[in-house]
Symmetry: C2
Subunit: 388 residues, 2 copies
Amino acid sequence: MIQFTLRQQDRQTKARLGQLRTARGVIEIPAFMPVGSLGSVKGLEPDDLHNLGFRLMLNNAYHLYLRPGHKVVAELGGLHAFTGWPGAILTDSGGFQIFSLAKLCKITDDGVTFQSHIDGSTHFITPETAIEIEEALGADIIMAFDQCVALPASREAIQEGVRRTTEWAKRCQGIRRRADQALFGIVQGGLEADLRRRSAQELVSLDFEGYAIGGLSVGESKADMYAMLDITAPELPEAKPRYLMGVGLPEDLIEGVARGIDLFDCVVPSRHGRTGWLFTGFGRVSIKQAQYTRDERPIDPDCGCPVCKRYSRAYLHHLFNVKEMLGSRLNTIHNLWYFADLMQRIRSSIERGTFLALRDEFYRARAAGAPNGEARDGADDDRRTGLD
Amino acid sequence: MIQFTLRQQDRQTKARLGQLRTARGVIEIPAFMPVGSLGSVKGLEPDDLHNLGFRLMLNNAYHLYLRPGHKVVAELGGLHAFTGWPGAILTDSGGFQIFSLAKLCKITDDGVTFQSHIDGSTHFITPETAIEIEEALGADIIMAFDQCVALPASREAIQEGVRRTTEWAKRCQGIRRRADQALFGIVQGGLEADLRRRSAQELVSLDFEGYAIGGLSVGESKADMYAMLDITAPELPEAKPRYLMGVGLPEDLIEGVARGIDLFDCVVPSRHGRTGWLFTGFGRVSIKQAQYTRDERPIDPDCGCPVCKRYSRAYLHHLFNVKEMLGSRLNTIHNLWYFADLMQRIRSSIERGTFLALRDEFYRARAAGAPNGEARDGADDDRRTGLD
């Protein structure tokens, strides 16, 4: 199982410093999880992730259920043995992917019928089968099966989603058999403050090992997302970890931490890396731009990552331009380093009582941009999908 | 420049053991060069290649001339600085790529007019511009600009190609300015024994630092290719390195070494890796096959590569099946290890006087196949293209 220790709380914000102990090691909190949808972060080996400092990664039950199948993974000893990842794993239950990727979803109280986005085959997933799949995959932390309502949606639809999510959460608890996995409930409620509160309260009464906030970063404004965090986080118990699903950009991590979030996952470091979007303290470096053709500097002269130590913007620009696979790998390594380093700096600042100063400095540095002005503010909107 | 030392010659075959000293380190001969057409072996970092034991890699002047351009590479300090590769580099002059990849080739004694395979733009390359490009790229070994005649071809066409290749070789020598690069001539002559001999003799009289055999592995039978090696190699000086271009499969390396070849390059370890063709001593493992879905064994239980140490066939099968980039990277690492290891075993066997025994054992093990019979003999034909 897991053991959550809250070491320190920020005095000026709701930021929390803690540790999550799992059978596969200790995760310093707050933490960002890289996403290996299909069992790998695209182009990276487990050792690469470990060397970047990550100790917890996310795999998607939906994708692994479709290919190679949860029973195959179970026969091979579970996800850790299958992928060779030595750290801890969290699996998303698949609810979000079914609603965002699959075709012809039909939802009843019983479960969800959908067509695979791969081959159109029909599948029926219930809370019970979702837990069966996640138990077969064998992650350290598993997520309850929830209904994620796409926004915008009517209040009635959101209300129905909250009701169903609570009912399904109970069924997930009822069917689970493995005592070595932690089960997290997922708060829904769209942008309706009272429904968010109700969803949180209902789930908390069921006493999960941790709580996630789902259904955000699906197209709403940042202000709306942050408002929902302000409303939801205080409803969650202090002594349990809180996980904001599918979020986000660097500023979202900072704002999430400030609102009491402990865990994040998102495809942006890897997916944006593959599109040439490189994260730095001074904003985005869009490596595809012609201005980098002869630029011998690293992506970020102040970055300590293995890519910035060895490769020039010119080489990364070339690799992107000629579509060399190595470019995707190097861009992803740089971006994941940036995310890991940001979380490390966040943790240090909470410990020292300087988290607000770090937040101010984050926005100041980004607004100032790079000396030669080539980098743009990386505040462009991002859309989450279940597939990286 | 380079310094070639012949340490030992096999008593039973024409196999040679030696060293090629360059400003960027010593290459043990016979050696296989991995191909980084556009400046990287797809999905691998320079450190990966170095850790696999390679000390000499090939980059393609044609591809780098088109993108990012030889002048850009020169401004960035040449290929070594641009790519971060610490070892030695050989650049192909582009002749083969122009004839195999480019559109609307027009050849005159002056040079070749062609259209870029990227954007259809028109280019004119002469022996003089080819050398200018290669000097700008800055490899340790550069190749003369030759005319590679596609087979089958009339004797007249091949004769014309030989004449032109010799004329162009002279012009390459005449125009070169950098004394720190070794220049190799390229023997042509198709499958015409007398023309091969003539081409070799004419080039040898021009006194290059090394000699390549070109225009093979372009669709002819293995017997034809080996026959041409039997005819050509004896025409080349003992004291200079001999390089068989674009070859080949493991058996071609063994047969090439037996015929006195010192250097090889080919895209097969990387390109075949990306298509799921994995090399082992017992033949090919086609990782896409469903039989590997639940196979917990490494690709080759006797292989010492980093992939076989960590990953199962089941995981590699899954990565291939879901088109994960990591699969290409891991398959390429395994294959390149196999090639590096094969060359190492070849060198050891020459030193010990057991090269013929190694050759026999190579064919015996492959014919025996894997214990469970899943691997097929990897003798399928392969076609070389200039792009990996």
